[in-house]
Subunit: 463 residues, 2 copies
């Protein structure tokens, strides 16, 4: 056992606060929006700044090129005989225009215990938590090797991550990537009082449906009744694909392969501290689809979805412009659960839509496989012990509704021992306006991580 004096450790962590703030402000200041073609430079600048921080902390760091945005790779190897843990975070962020934000999204603003800014909680804050945890591990002489794998394309489904990793590993992890386990910090607790270790992630299938019925918008008086309406037809297609009120997908075969959730698992998930009231409040939702907590929980954690992210078509300015539009496009995705396969689901969705409207174009956009592991392994156990020591409570074992493409890739190419040890809270506003991260979560996270490293060092690699 590695002796950790709680009081000294916590005082030390508190002393990091000004530096943490400064570094977070710098990273948030780089508008690393991977989705935007105009932000390539800022994505790179953010990766370079992060690599600089890792280097300054004593790690060997480098910026690795991919076909898209770069990956930051770093290592702090003390002794090859020590166990090695790889920490995954991402440095890219969701888009954010100024609308709805109470401050500039790309300028960190301190609000009491909270730091507001795009990327604060997803996932720049947690990345910096890992950086400071390395400092603590070295100060406490924890016998562990650390690697950092920080990518810049998580928000667009990590399209180049697998190829880049395969290139680096050439079949099996070489010295630069060899690891005993992986810590991923990009997930959310059910509530501030309930830490969580998710043992599953939903997959994702992103796609576009486009329908063009003419060359130009035309007069709804002169042509209305005879002319087709692409928005109306797209609405019909969407309504045929799913029942928006219940979320039930109506595409034949969509639910094929969905792994049933047993009684024991349901019971476990129900203990995650989820409550409808808290959920609605955290996400600013007026009403949700179901009244019962268990039904909501299972809809998020264990069921696939069909979601409309946006519709573009027709006149969107002030008033009502009486045109018949000539095209419409819907941005859609399905969150998927084990054992659905994105490629198979896409085939079914496309066939269903094409059968109803042959002219509709159905464009594949992105795919992430769902992920599920046994929640009773030794790494999750070590993380659970570290959580208890840090937060005074055992974590809930949950399944995350979101998707992290890199997790599946890393579990296939680097190590099956992946632990999802997120630090974000529902009220942080993942992907939402006024995203923020709390210092209390950052500080707790630093302690949690160094305790987890110590647990791993004590237990030794479970090869």
């Amino acid at each position: 056992m590695i002796a950790i004096d709680k009081k000294i450790l916590r005082a030390r962590i508190q002393s990091f606060r000004p530096e943490f703030e400064e570094k977070l402000a710098t990273l948030v200041g780089h508008a690393s929006v991977s989705m935007s073609a105009d932000h390539g430079k800022q994505v790179r600048a953010c990766a370079e700044a992060a690599a600089g921080y890792l280097e300054k902390e004593g790690a060997e760091a480098r910026v690795v090129e991919t076909k898209g945005h770069p990956i930051v790779l770093a290592q702090s190897v003390v002794d090859p005989k020590f166990p090695t843990v790889t920490i995954y975070n991402h440095l890219d962020v969701q888009p954010a225009d100024r609308e709805g934000w109470t401050s500039d999204p790309f300028r960190l603003e301190k609000r009491g215990d909270r730091y507001a800014g795009r990327g604060a909680t997803d996932d720049k804050g947690p990345a910096l938590v890992a950086l400071f945890a390395m400092r603590l591990a070295r100060a406490l002489e924890v016998p562990i090797n650390l690697r950092f794998l920080w990518e810049s394309e998580e928000e667009i489904g990590s399209p180049n991550f697998a190829e880049a990793l395969a290139g680096l590993t050439k079949g099996k992890p070489g010295p630069a990537l060899r690891t005993d386990s992986i810590l991923v910090s990009d997930t959310i607790w059910p509530s501030a009082k309930k830490p969580a270790i998710p043992y599953g992630l939903r997959g994702l299938l992103g796609f576009l449906v486009r329908l063009k019925t003419g060359d130009k918008d035309v007069h709804s008086g002169t042509t209305g009744g005879a002319a087709r309406n692409p928005i109306g037809e797209l609405c019909a297609l969407i309504s045929e694909c799913y029942d928006a009120r219940t979320g039930r997908v109506k595409i034949p075969g969509f639910y094929e392969g969905v792994r049933p959730v047993g009684h024991a698992e349901k019971k476990g998930l129900a203990e995650s501290g989820f409550s409808r009231a808290k959920f609605q409040k955290a996400h600013g939702l007026k009403r949700v689809r179901f009244a019962e907590d268990a039904k909501l929980l299972s809809a998020i954690m264990a069921a696939p979805t069909f979601e409309v992210h946006g519709i573009v078509g027709g006149y969107t300015g002030p008033g009502v412009k009486t045109i018949v539009p000539h095209q419409a496009e819907a941005k859609l995705s399905c969150r998927l659960v084990p054992n659905q396969r994105p490629a198979d689901v896409f085939r079914k969705v496309k066939a269903f839509i094409k059968a109803r409207c042959p002219e509709a174009e159905v464009h594949f956009e992105s795919a992430l496989e769902p992920y599920l592991v046994d929640p009773s392994g030794p790494y999750i156990e070590a993380a659970s012990d570290a959580t208890l020591a840090t937060f005074g409570t055992r974590p809930a074992l949950t399944r995350e509704g979101g998707s992290i493409g890199a997790v599946v890739t890393m579990s296939q190419l680097l190590s099956k021992n992946v632990v999802l040890l997120g630090l974000s809270l529902p009220e942080d506003g993942y992907h939402a306006i006024n995203e923020s991260f709390a210092w209390s979560q950052a500080a707790g996270g630093m302690e949690l991580f160094v305790r987890y490293f110590a647990e791993l060092a004590t237990r030794g690699p479970a090869r």
Copy 2:
């Protein structure tokens, strides 16, 4: 009979061309978009320029204020004993951003016989045709009094027209508005070879449906399945309101009061020269709702519609941003036919939507009553004779799919003798990008109008 030498008349009209072009360029140059809050000055500037033209032509002209955009009122009264005809046009235009236009929409561009620019055909070109027709009438000493009523709010449903007219007439048309008949030139021929006099117009009910399900867009992983999707629900509502593939409205009672079209009328409409192929080509439509001409014709001329003009909601930038949106809004309208009433239809639509989704807001936007007259009156007969003399063919008697709110108002307040003598062609692109007007139609229109004036002068007022 007033003797008109065709050759001399036509040569004279040809000599107007440079001046017509110059004046049309000036009017098109004023971006008189009544729908836009930012274009008030340009709407006024256009009205003032037009009033100036009328004055220069020898009419007494003035710009009359309304609660909204102004009306241009002018008169050329030669002798109170002569019959008086009031010519209605509108000077406001549909919005036009640069997208899809091959030239600046607010800078007239000459392309052979055609003039391209927003408002060229709807309705600035036809207004100028009336101006030059007045010049011809005076030159030929046609014993007729002319009035001009050019409004600036037609494209937003003439919300202040009735009140302004009522104010000017104070119950019955005073000297400034007294008229025997009204000529409205804001309608479209079925094809370049087939002039038309519509004896009916569809009405219009414009409305918005807005659904807000939360305070902000949220993460579709973290909340998807539990969170409601306002776009999805709006699509469902729209699909419940109507079958977009056939256009059939499913709202109970929607078709109540629709006047059946008898065999004789159907036959008359069918003679208008409508053909599916020409219609599709003129409007750039890939496919239309029905294969048979008669069905298409009746869908435009004699049946009501439910139309989606635009949907706003969710993410509309590049790629797929995996959010659950928090609100969505659809811009909608119904074209109505006799004897549907906009207020009654709105009540039914709102009740239908509210019953399915109580949180949906249904906002009334605008209403125009449908219009239908007996096509066999003496004024339509005079117009038919003038058309035959000018174009060598009798006009088709049609029903227009569009709506002109002012027609109903004027027929109630000024005179029942309304004749719709439009000059636009399907290929002109009413409300569409690259709107244009042909010189041949302008020249023909000048001849048609002066011949019509001469017919009226010969027949005398049918009081």
